[in-house]
């Protein structure tokens, strides 16, 4: 069974948990105590990932680190590279790759702001928040234009892709970093669509959406 080295409150680990759940892949969570023990920086964990960060998966001895690499691997292995990571469509795959890159930016801004406020990390909080707002504005406009074309996800596909999974945690947890989503209505609609997907799981800090009227 796949092992996921995981921390409950990590936005990057949540990306991997989300896709594992959506793909309905049986897995085992191995808790790594990020806070307060900083276990991800321990000598024992650095044998698994010399970079000392999580998430990492161990799939029958195959060790893979980095949230986005894990998303690509899981999608190719368990969804045959069809919808979640559309290897058969060059344009779509290019879009997905560019939004994965964009998600590195939200990690460095929105997610970093959250680390400052939650765990006292010594980053420039205001710069992180301003950077997150710049990216959220771009993403909000992008999603709004998608909606005008009848599309629901960040890439131009009918189904969600790993790019949506890579972006969702930083957006959904942004309030914890003091980044309000009040000014991003299209982003709020997009997060709600993700939360209504089959197999969606939340994490602390992600507020549940109201049930749809029956």
């Amino acid at each position: 069974m796949i092992k996921l080295y995981d921390y409950l409150l990590s936005a990057n680990c949540y990306k991997a948990r989300l896709l594992l759940s959506m793909l309905d892949v049986p897995h085992e969570l191995v808790p790594i105590e990020f806070y307060p023990r900083r276990e991800h920086e321990s000598a024992a964990f650095k044998k698994i990932n010399p970079l000392g960060h999580i998430p990492v998966i161990d799939d029958d001895g195959f060790i893979l680190r980095d949230a986005h690499a894990i998303l690509m691997y899981l999608a190719c292995k368990y969804d045959g590279g069809r919808d979640w990571y559309p290897t058969g469509d060059p344009r779509l795959l290019g879009e997905v790759a560019s939004w994965l890159q964009f998600a590195d930016g939200t990690a460095a801004t929105a997610s970093a702001a959250r680390l400052c406020i939650n765990f006292g990390y010594d980053f420039d909080l205001e710069a992180c928040q301003a950077g997150a707002h710049r990216l959220f504005r771009v993403l909000d406009e992008h999603v709004w234009f998608r909606e005008q074309e009848g599309l629901s996800w960040v890439a131009s596909a009918a189904a969600p892709t790993v790019a949506d999974m890579a972006l969702f945690p930083d957006v959904a947890l942004s309030e914890e970093g003091g980044i309000s989503r009040e000014d991003y209505p299209a982003l709020r609609r997009w997060t709600e669509r993700i939360q209504r997907l089959g197999g969606f799981i939340d994490m602390p800090g992600v507020l549940p959406v109201a049930p749809l009227p029956s």
């Binding site: 307060p36 406020i117 309030e175 914890e176």
Partner: protein
């Protein structure tokens, strides 16, 4: 008065001990920076492992930082910006030899310390916020309980509380009717004594020590003193991490972030007896930081 205007802590808050760091995170010869009551603080350790604290005043470099009183208690370093009592409130259970005393989880929360304490006192939120762990719909009823102020210590107590819990602690294997006693020994600190799943004769202690960074921001520090021979430290901390992380977004969505002390400012039901008494107790102590004091005209008048 504008409820959002900067607040001055004033006595009695200035004269109390406040938690400012987890002892295990301090290293001799190094300092960490933090905030307390809108002031910048540095915290360190001396050669013997005792905590040290300083006020960072922002004066010209070379000026000696102002030393603050500091003590170690319950796995935390505590300091004061005023004249603190000689000793911090006692938790005698922590001295029992088979107890495990742990700083379990700390997180920044955008809420006032009194709101965080009030939430801790609320049994009613268990089945909703901590579903499947500390409570479970439809077993949502809060049985009646007593609230009293100890005339000797002037601490606030809530007694004879009882609640059904599917997973009361890290060591739980089954649901239980948990007996709770709440104790508020400090305006920003609250603890509960709860039936121990592994020893019927004693109580686990779970405490919340709020470090008020400002009037409406806290570091939410949790501490446990438990009888548990089974769980690892990591398992105990993981349990408290989950529970605290579930509380955080709920607390951050409370409005106003400051706790109104005016009677009737917020609707209360019978199970809110502890919250009502806590608000009155804060008012009687003269606490004006992190709260909206009673007697302020409301917006409609």
């Amino acid at each position: 008065m504008d409820a959002t205007a900067p607040q001055e802590p004033g006595p009695p808050i200035l004269d109390l001990w406040h938690p400012v760091a987890i002892l295990a995170e301090l290293t001799a010869g190094e300092t960490i920076r933090t905030r307390l009551l809108d002031r910048d603080i540095a915290v360190g350790l001396d050669g013997e492992g005792a905590p040290l604290a300083w006020l960072i005043t922002g004066e010209a470099p070379g000026g000696a930082p102002e030393s603050l009183p500091a003590i170690a208690a319950y796995e935390f370093a505590w300091t004061s910006l005023g004249t603190p009592p000689a000793e911090i409130f006692a938790i005698p259970e922590c001295d029992e030899p088979d107890r495990r005393n742990l700083a379990t989880f700390s997180v920044g929360v955008h809420v006032s310390a009194p709101r965080a304490v009030e939430n801790f006192l609320d049994l009613g939120h268990f089945p909703y916020v901590h579903a499947g762990i500390l409570g479970q719909v439809p077993r949502t009823e809060v049985a009646d309980y007593r609230v009293e102020v100890d005339p000797e210590t002037n601490e606030l107590w809530a007694l004879d509380c009882e609640f059904f819990q599917p997973q009361a602690a890290a060591a739980s294997t089954d649901g239980q009717m948990s007996q709770y006693t709440y104790r508020v020994p400090h305006p920003y600190c609250v603890m509960l004594y709860k039936s121990c799943p592994t020893d019927e004769s004693r109580f686990d202690v779970i405490a919340l020590f709020c470090q008020a960074l400002s009037a409406d921001r806290v570091l939410f520090h949790t501490f446990m003193s438990v009888i548990d021979e089974v769980s690892s430290d990591e398992q105990i901390r993981a349990f408290q991490t989950l529970v605290s992380a579930q509380d955080k977004p709920i607390l951050e969505n409370q409005t106003p972030r400051l706790l109104p002390l005016e009677v009737g400012a917020e609707a209360s039901v019978r199970s809110d007896r502890a919250s009502v008494a806590y608000r009155r107790w804060l008012g009687d102590l003269g606490v004006g930081y992190g709260v909206i004091p009673a007697g302020l005209p409301d917006d409609g008048s």
